[in-house]
Amino acid sequence: MSGSETAAKTVKERAKEALRNDFLRQAVRFTTDRLRNARLQAAGEQGNWEAWRERGRQIRSHTIAHLDYYLNRFAENARANGAHVHFAESAEEAVRIVLAIAERKGARMVAKSKSMVTEELHLNRALENIGVKPVETDLGEYIVQLAGETPSHLIIPSIHKNRRQTADLLSKEAGEELPTDTPALAAFVRRRMREVFLAADIGMTGCNFAIAETGSIVVFENEGNARMVSTLPKTQITLMGMERIIPTWADLEVMATLLPRSATGQRLTVYMSGISGPRRPGDGDGPEELHIVIVDNGRSLQLGDPEFQELLNCIRCGACLNVCPVYRHIGGHAYGGTYTGPIGAVLKPAFRKNVAEWDDVADASSLCGACAEACPVKIPLHDMLVALRRRKVEAGRAKRPEALAMRAYAAVMGSAGRLKGALRLGRLAVKPIARDGFIRARIGPLAGWTRHRVFPAPAAEPFRERWTGLRLELEREPAAMDPAVRRRLEEALRRRQAEKREGGDERHGG
């Protein structure tokens, strides 16, 4: 994520625009509904889903905790396979390496399969600047590229586009009016891309997983375009986030069980390809030269950070987007970054070392926890969002009115006596604006609330003032406790005390 990504507006403003776009919201709702149902069904069919998630988390956490070892191992093995491996600490560095190869090769066209890292690097723009034409060959990515946009979903980049818009974009490219039915549009893309695959000087792919022990890169896809770009062009460049590593092929079974099911509900994507070096002597296809660019670009900032290291466990399945009620209403572009949805809301500020640029993206969550529940490797995204907010406050970058309000909150809530006084004051303050127990006025900090809802007026008598009377009333005619209930209560208490003695912490829920 380069610094050139200027968020001219806030998430709040972009969300407001998105909320006015009925088509967008309908399209996102429709597709995410299908994806989330497909995920639930696939997870159910597979069975023991929690055990798979836990194993996924264990493998990912283990690898990240030993990332230096596994990356080194991967690099050595990939070189032994005949690949050229490059290390890029920053986006600029990664771009420099890719451009140098493209220039040396005299490349005119690069055929790309889906790669979020290249989006993160804004690689297409950089290639165009030196006169190389990048062509996105994944259908959704192609649509987004023709529209001059960025992907708005990890798995379905053009989730925000309807058939009509897609047909218009493709018709313009075709130079003729194309019918709007999916097979016709797909057939055009198939024809057009065949020429691209065969003519491209360089094929460029992302990398879902990299296997340390054999130096192999593994790509999951459904269309076959990633196979094309890693089979036909003479040179292949693969961009990989440095955290994509897993130790062995055996570990790939776990990732292959989690990723497609979580992403689209498939048992496996149509193609899963393991590529170990360039074509072998005598092979009739496959690249003659394979470059693998390992990209840091802010990832290493998470290492050793107890609150964020697990972020590197992410396998980019998009399940958190599909269950997110915020994403559901505002789509991906409102997040303002390469990565969208809950994972994007954390990745963007985390990869940028939490600098001021990231504006209010971490606020775009109700912290409902649906993301963490859906995550196949159990990343606690909602906790990370809270940690980001805290760091913002600690760094003194919170908005002043909010900080003042919170200071007042602490003053009131720090003592029951002050709370009691505040409750009394509050009742008096809202009296003039409350009607039949509700406040409708759009004033002060309440305006955001009352635009969409009424707000209750405080009760005439708070619970704490009602308590004494209530207690006295109930004590006049106490009911007897069922002996069975008493036994259970006493048993629960004994159990807890016993566990406390043993040093275990009894925790129900949570």
């Binding site: 606020d363 919170m406 709370l419 209930v485 807890r496």
Partner: protein, 242 residues
């Protein structure tokens, strides 16, 4: 046996009738409760907004208030779940962490206390209405209270429980989120309200007044003031014949 009420600031100030219903239901089963008046608020709104220092100020009142309680019962799964975040909140303060740990171990959400601790899932209530239940995210997803409220509702005579479509989707409340990101929150609550109305239920119930204030407030704003009751209120109405 000391069973204490953790009433939550929201119920204290706006919905004392919820706390009252809970107290009366417990009393009917011979459970005497007390209300340690030193309690204020769990600190969640400050915690979630990133103001941990401010959250600690509120949270400490709970650590003190419930220090010698055997059980703590609360009408909010969300606020109870907040206690489970105290370990992080009080990082670097082992004595507060130990108190928090103890508090977590003895605190229960209302339906959880009845069903899981007291072993009571039939309160003998009668409520001949069509009802739908919104499972709040924090109570169900984070605290793990999923079946208990439904078990209590299924045992209410005459009550027709209509499943809420997209029940597990957040209503858009999210504490300060509803003010900070009011438009997104507004869109979320509008969709939630649509689903509630689709059920044609007469009553919407739930286990967290934050969410119910949000959904109910939106329904009233739209001129569709459905009855909105906390589960404890509904059950109390059902046993008292009110």
């Amino acid at each position: 046996m000391k069973v204490s009420l953790f009433i939550t600031c929201l119920c204290d100030a706006f919905y004392p009738r919820v706390g009252e219903a809970m107290v009366r239901l417990l009393a009917r089963h011979g459970i005497r409760t007390d209300f340690p008046s030193a309690q204020t608020c769990c600190g969640q709104s400050a915690f979630n907004s990133g103001y941990w220092e401010e959250a600690r100020a509120a949270a400490r009142t709970l650590l003190d208030a419930f220090a010698d309680s055997d059980f703590v019962v609360s009408p909010s799964g969300s606020c109870v779940h907040m206690l489970h975040r105290y370990r992080e909140l009080f990082r670097g303060d082992p004595s507060a962490q130990a108190k928090a740990e103890e508090l977590c171990g003895k605190t229960y959400e209302f339906s959880q206390f009845f069903v899981d601790v007291l072993g009571i899932d039939d309160l003998g209530a009668k409520f001949p209405h069509k009802v739908t239940y919104h499972p709040s995210c924090h109570g169900s997803r984070l605290l793990g209270v999923r079946d208990e409220p439904e078990r209590l509702l299924r045992n209410v005579a005459g009550l027709e429980l209509v499943p809420l479509p997209y029940a597990e989707d957040c209503c858009g409340f999210g504490g300060t989120f509803s003010v900070k990101m009011s438009d997104i929150s507004g869109a979320m609550v509008a969709e939630k309200a649509e689903h509630v109305l689709e059920t044609e239920a007469e009553v919407l119930t739930g286990s967290d007044m934050g969410c119910l204030m949000n959904i109910g407030g939106h329904l009233r704003h739209r001129g569709r003031p459905l009855r909105v009751l906390h589960l404890a209120e509904l059950l109390y109405e059902g046993v008292s014949g009110a």
